[in-house]
Symmetry: C2
Subunit: 387 residues, 2 copies
């Protein structure tokens, strides 16, 4: 039970100002003339109101947020980054809750209401990162919702014992089974996918597989993931993160892959990378494939970039997509909000009566300005309360 | 004459804290123990200090900064953008000084000390935009230095009378002769370049040519510009903006083009586009080609993006280049500051005694943090005074 709140003079996605009555964590009424019934009132003063932002791909356990700056420690390949991650992790084990909590707090400030975070699971680590993130989830309850992915950063087939721990992570509270480059990292596409989907069959968890594999290699992995999703009737519960292969095969092959994603109900998550291919927002959208957006690493051993601001991430996606028109830039913001909600399975994220009272007020004249200018003036509401 | 200022506790590019004595628009002393000699003191409190940022490519006359938001008006091609620009310009003629001034003020706030702005010149407009920008330059004297490029947005060969007006613009005070896609827009590569370099021979102006042309077409234009630069002994005074062709020919051809730029002393300006090829910072750097960075359009009829923040532009260049290490990200910031100074011909931009007292203080722990986080906490010093 939260106290009722009357939110006055807010403009849904930049439309004309209305008022919203929030109660018990939900939007209970919306209109141009609403009585507060004595409820506490917050005057939005014409701010834009959006549903909470969704960060569909973070690595909270790896972040160095709040730590002293350190030079990026890895060489230029994915394998060197994995090795650096493993090496440095050992010194950072004790501070996971503190680092992840600092970044979660930053996400709250930026207006993110829901995060899906991958969490490393493997024999050397056991479930330590998962346990730490479960504590962070508890600490942040009511301010931000965390969904956890049991993530085999260091492979499954090539790192025996990982699959068992991933299943234990799911039983401990992770909602999603991860995976990574089954051909490039495990060199055993079927082996890794067998292991991932076996956990899913036993636990009912969702799936979210990192796929950095480029070109034909990635395309074959994507097709294999779609095939298993169809076979298990898991439409809407499986996602492929990064999906660089979509932008690195020819147009015809890309169209076939997108058809396959649509037919299987497999979603895609992008972080709008700067120097890897960005999946086509319009083509995914036209085909009805769910596209969500995430920060990926934020200031960690993989990358110095990022600030957990999903308005900035929407800007990057729009900028990388060559979007200029309001309607195009809206596609990028909708991927963050509506795509994120669909991909994570969050019901009731919206601005209509009955929806969650998870809202972001932004001091911007229009939706496009909110994205391109990413204003600092924000008010974040979660469960009907200003947080 | 400006009053002396003792700047205490600032960290050059993130190194150990020192003090700086500024007087008469210059840095007169730098060291760990400096006496103020009774000068006014500003405590930097450990802020990073950088030379002023250089924005080497803006279009101040086109910006809508400070205007109500409007949807991007153009179709997806360059020709449609040019047509929309021309159409909308007619309603905006009276407000150029106001709009350009609002954006210049924003650039000052972000820490930019020097701007090169292209300014449209053609028969329909006459010199109106140039005259407006000359007024803005006057208004902002002491806060930011403006260098103007007489820019034939609508072609030269195909828009008779433009060349004469460009020459008149140079005589009125523009330092640079512009150009644009001589093959793609004028369909007469030699015709446009003849006209550009004829003005240069008569006036001694610098050159800065927009080159969006991709692949072999752009490569041929680039080679032609280099050839004319060599023939006229204009090394260091000619720049090619955008240079998309560098990233759209094969690696061998790119290497030959970069050799040609180096041999001719022709510089390159990029805005780190999101969906067009970004020239290779490392390869240009290794070859000794000057690379500068600019905002290009900021919230105008060409693009809704941009905020005149050259720390953000350095971040975009680094992000688009796949840079992660401090030393790599420093290349992007050096392109903004040192590359910009070289390309614009600004002497004495630096942090040593004798350099201009044009400085930016940033609340960041390291140079990389200044770029990736783009902190709002900035103090801008121009000519030895806080502006």
């Amino acid at each position: 039970m939260t106290e009722p709140l009357l939110l006055r003079n807010v403009r849904p996605w930049g439309a004309d100002a209305i008022h919203m009555r929030l109660s018990d964590g939900a939007i209970v009424a919306v209109g141009p003339e609403l009585d507060g019934d004595g409820a506490e009132t917050l005057d939005g003063a014409g701010a834009l109101v959006l549903p909470s932002l969704v960060d569909a791909h973070m690595h909270l356990d790896k972040t160095l947020w709040g730590e002293p700056w350190r030079d990026h420690p890895a060489g230029p390949t994915r394998d060197e980054r994995i090795a650096a991650d493993r090496r440095l992790r050992r010194d950072m084990a004790d501070s996971i809750e503190q680092r992840a909590g600092a970044l979660a707090a930053q996400a709250v400030r930026m207006g993110t209401g829901h995060i899906r975070s991958h969490v490393d699971v493997e024999p050397e680590l056991g479930l330590r990162h998962v346990e730490a993130l479960l504590n962070v989830r508890e600490t942040f309850a009511g301010r931000i919702d965390l969904q956890l992915v049991a993530f085999p950063q260091f492979g499954m087939v090539t790192n025996p014992g990982t699959a068992e721990l991933m299943e234990a992570a799911v039983r401990a509270g992770a909602e999603v089974v991860g995976g990574i480059d089954p051909a490039a990292i495990d060199r055993d596409r079927d082996g890794q996918l067998d292991a991932v989907f076996a956990i899913v069959e036993r636990t009912g968890a969702m799936v979210d597989i990192h796929l950095h594999e480029m070109g034909e290699e990635g395309a074959a992995s994507m097709a294999a993931i779609c095939e298993r999703t169809r076979a298990l009737g898991m439409a809407g519960r499986v996602a492929i993160s990064h999906a660089f292969c979509l932008g690195s095969v020819d147009a015809q092959h890309q169209a076939r892959l997108i058809e396959g994603l649509a037919a299987a109900g497999v979603g895609v998550v992008t972080y709008a990378p700067g120097s890897s291919p960005v999946p086509s927002v319009k083509e995914l959208n036209d085909a009805g494939v769910t596209l969500a957006v995430g920060s990926d690493g934020v200031r960690d051993t993989w990358t110095p970039y990022g600030n957990a601001d999903m308005l900035e991430r929407a800007m990057m996606l729009a900028y990388r997509s060559g979007f200029r028109k309001d309607a195009e830039i809206r596609l990028a913001l909708e991927a963050v909000i509506e795509g994120g909600a669909r991909l994570l399975g969050i019901d009731g994220l919206g601005l209509a009566p009955g929806c969650r009272a998870d809202l972001l007020l932004v001091e911007a004249a229009t939706m496009t300005e909110a994205v391109v200018a990413r204003p600092a003036g924000r008010t974040v509401i979660k469960g009907g309360r200003v947080v």
